[in-house]
Amino acid sequence: MTSYTAQELMVAVASREISDGDLVFVGMRLPILAYAVARNAHAPTARGLFEVGLMRDQPAAGFLGTMGDPPNVAGALWATRMSNAMALMAQGRVDLGFIGGAEVDRFGNLNTSYVGDPRRPKVKLPGSGGGADIAVLSRRWVTLMTHERRRLVERVSFVTSPGHGDGTPGWRGRNGLLGDGPVAIITTLGVLRFPPGGGEAHLASVHPGHAVDEVRRETGWELKVAEDLKETSAPTGAELAAIRRFDPEGFWTRN
């Protein structure tokens, strides 16, 4: 059996969320790799949109530390201003977005701003970036994070990027948010999914080598488990080869 890191598995799982033909709002870090993997495998006509002001088809030829790095600009389909990229998302033309999070709650709301009271926070996190925009405007989105009890919490103390709000069905529509909101939380231990129409996350698959008990222990709420719980498919050889081609030194996936 080929060995792989938790990050490599997360990238592979994230890449499978991308359908062929999708316009993907690609976030930083692991999603950049997920896009590259999908594009080289099952989504050869997907396009990537980057908030810095870029649209691409082929993944960049060189390593990317940020989406604005020169290899991501060379060969772009469009180099423009950020508000133009946001315009497409505001029109509902972005099929899938990725958002990183420090904290997520059972309804998929993300906090990347403040732990504790915003006036005197225990931890000041960097902020929204484009996260809140993706959360409100993209058709559907996925978040990736390390699975720890302090990160997967009952309720986030600050909603930077709204998911399914208070968890009641139709919360997003009632509050004027576009799109279907979060569809999956991909963690280092498993994949949590949401019911159609919004609501509470449940464990849909557990990664190879991990147990449901462990996932529950590391989750800050009474986690529901899908009746048809599966084991997450391990990264294929082709997926791993693609990941290692775009992250040759393991900057994102082996640290």
Partner: protein, 290 residues
Amino acid sequence: MAQAIERFVPDGASVALGVALEPMIPFAAGHEMIRQGRRDLELVGPISDTLFDQLIGAGCARRVTAAWVGNVSEGLGHCYRRACEQGVPRSLEVHDHSNFSISLALWAAAWNVPSLPTRTLLGSDILRTNPGLSATDGLVHVQAVRPDVTIVHVQRADELGRAHAWGPLGITEEAGLAAERVIVTCEEVVAPEVTLSDPNRIIFPETKVVAVVHEPGGAHPSPVQGHFQRDHAFYREYAAQSRSVEGFGAWLRKWVLDVPDRAAYLRQIDLDSVRIKHHLPSTPADYGYD
């Protein structure tokens, strides 16, 4: 550079920086503000890849109006954390935005209207902590943000203020139009014949530009298309050193306070290791007219 900062960035000014997001961040200009001991600045920008963190750590800022402050490839901004969590070296007022809303706030100022409506940020608590954002009737109203000065680093400009930039522009255009004045720092100063040969590539009206500073390498460690790659290792080292107040102090002395200018800073690094070697010029556009 010293003259431009001295003259156009007074204490208490609202300054937009890093408006192209990760590329072309005017680090040399920011470092000059630190050297001159600027105080009480309002820092305006979308994401700030360590420059805001450095200005905050050096005690230059009273307010941050931004979507994100940290280190894009490494994560948290340690000086930003210390300022918000402990008031070190001083407390900081934060006006949170998203990338889209800070763009709209600048467009509102550019178009001289009090606010612009959008759907973004509906359902976000950012509406609770930023007094410049409010929601009514299913729309968020983003109040105008009007910087006193916007500072950009670009590939080339002429002495009369016509700046050419290429690659993704982030919120560069709205930041320039919204600001009272613009300072341009550049890799190359070129003749007006060069800039005027491609007016579509001029990013601001020359009437906004008050200073053009020839500052090659002035965006290091951020990338400049056609000139420099991003210096990832430099960001990593900053993240490690700025973790403690003492480490940040040592970093600041080495790279800012103990160097007189950018040329001296550049002598401490191997700029050739990030210099772009394979060039890909575009095909010129034909502006023929008769």
